[in-house]
């Protein structure tokens, strides 16, 4: 592979990893800190992505579209949480996946607004021009960058900021209360923690973060298709979470790079097999990682065993 092309390829893989890192940081807050097994996380990313896309295709400026997308995802989290957060963990998991599928099927069917299976074209709006301006500026000072680099940098800065926010929240009474809810709901309630309200806040913030991942997904892929938001996206997110370690933010970063490498980075290597077969084997490996982790090290690489609660 031509080295410059290879550079672009790695920029692509790492941007994807960064979007996954943001996505899974939201999941970590819900699953790791609060004990909410949310299998419909991708739905909130879809809401962020489509809100962003619809805003930009309708002439809303980017600086307004981003907060709107994040707020829409957070609002959707509250809306889903109010009726469902009282359910037991396994029922909650199935309900969230069903809600996500309802949303996806709706997006698919409402072609008039969302483009349906034809895709929402030009969803990234003025981003491309902005990106070119940035590249031109760097060229002006003698630096020739791959066209994917600005987004790569932006995504990872955002991921680190989100991570820093979560670490900061980790030092506040807020996350201590969340963790108390996770450890023992009855005891937390008896100590005067409004359990339901804390769960709802966690789901809202987690969804907002997923919405932010959606914002970058829109800039990254420029055309949005409903099949980008199938439940498998969430499950790959869970693979990242499980590999890195439930409860560990640093683990999320490592996990998303490793899993993104397996999902798209291995395209770089030459296997003596058809592309389809290689694609299938990639997901076999991801499945085996999930299985192996759950069987032998459920707390993941960086997680703590005593913080793991998988009893439902």
């Amino acid at each position: 592979m031509d080295p410059l092309l290879a550079l672009g390829f790695w920029a692509f893989v790492l941007t994807f990893a960064g979007i996954y890192a943001i996505f899974v940081l939201g999941l970590q807050l819900e699953v790791g800190d609060t004990g909410l097994i949310n299998f419909g996380h991708v739905a909130f990313m879809a809401i962020g992505a489509y809100t962003m896309g619809l805003c930009l295709t309708n002439g809303v400026p980017i600086w307004l579209a981003v907060p709107l997308a994040v707020l829409a995802a957070a609002a959707a989290g509250v809306l889903l949480g109010i009726p469902t957060l009282r359910l037991r963990a396994d029922y909650f998991a199935i309900t969230t996946i069903a809600a996500g599928e309802i949303l996806r099927i709706t997006i698919q069917n409402e072609q008039g607004t969302t483009g349906g299976t034809q895709g929402l074209r030009g969803a990234s709006g003025p981003w491309r021009d902005f990106n070119n301006d940035v590249l031109d500026w760097f060229e002006g000072i003698g630096l020739e960058l791959d066209r994917r680099v600005p987004l790569l940098v932006l995504v990872w800065i955002t991921a680190l900021l989100v991570g820093a926010l979560l670490v900061y929240l980790g030092r506040t009474p807020w996350r201590r209360a969340l963790r108390a809810v996770r450890e023992n709901e009855e005891a937390a309630a008896a100590s005067g923690i409004p359990v339901f309200s804390y769960k709802l806040q966690s789901l809202a913030l987690g969804s907002a973060i997923a919405g932010l991942a959606g914002v970058f997904y829109t800039l990254f892929s420029t055309t949005l298709f409903p099949e980008n938001f199938e439940p498998i996206f969430t499950f790959v997110g869970f693979a990242i979470l499980i590999l890195g370690g439930i409860g560990s933010y640093f683990g999320v970063v490592v996990g998303s790079i490793v899993i993104s490498f397996i999902v798209s980075g291995t395209r770089f290597l030459d296997f003596p097999l058809d592309a389809d077969k290689v694609a299938a084997l990639r997901f076999v490996v991801i499945g085996l990682i999930i299985m192996g982790m759950m069987a032998f090290r459920p707390q993941g690489i960086f997680g703590k065993k005593e913080e793991l609660h998988l009893d439902a």
Partner: protein, 291 residues
Amino acid sequence: MEEFLNTSINGLSSGAIYALGAIGLSLVYGILKLVNFAHGDFMTLGGYVAFAVNVSAGMPLVVAFLAALVVVAALGVALEVAIWRPMRRKGAGVMQLLLLSIGLAFVIRNLILFQWSGATRSLDVDQFQAWNPFGDVVITRIQVIVIVTAGVVLVGVAVMLRSTLIGKSMRALSDSFDLAEVSGVNTRRIVLYTWVLAGSLAGLAGVLAAVYTTLTPNTGWFLLLSIFAAVVLGGIGNAYGALVGGIVLGLAQEWSTMVIQPTYKEAVGFVVLILVLLVRPQGIFGQARTL
């Protein structure tokens, strides 16, 4: 009226497939507290085994049915011995087993993709032969195969669960594993029988799904969410409930096409799922105590 009868026939066909999948999923959950996300991929495997026997090897459909049943039942037993039993012995939690089953689902689905590629397959059945029993009511040969096969098997399973010692033991384990064990039920053996039953029903459902529609590596996964809805509708862990839940769900989805766009019919299943969980989480037939 004709539209109602036609949608009912369609609904019975897909409902019968849901019911076959739902019984196994529900029994496994009831007895082992395992929410098996790989159950849909068991069905897909059944479909592909039938494809290999019926199309690749050119043998009759009946042989394909039997092969699918045997292979998927054997897979169920093998996984019980290799994974689920050791995991239970370790004291794994419900969510731990659930996530493990998601990993397993990835592995099975993608091995199928590896072996048979993503191309859409169908079995060697006459797709077009149909009858008009009266008026504009249409029933296809495929629907007759699906409804009759599933109907016979479902009645057989219901009788088995009600009257035979194995069936009673399964229901006893589902009610309370520990109580059944201290009452002298050989739990280990009954668990294996449960996997045989769940696996063969899933295999059968997969073949019928392949006969009724088409077969891709995602067939079972897409059916699985509707099957979850059927299980919840019938009361989780209740095998009869799952049977009725599957048929009710199939009918509800098809009847809904009389009022809303047919492309939304899957979503109807999920709306039913959420509503039942919120309003009556014990399902239509479940009792509150089983929760």
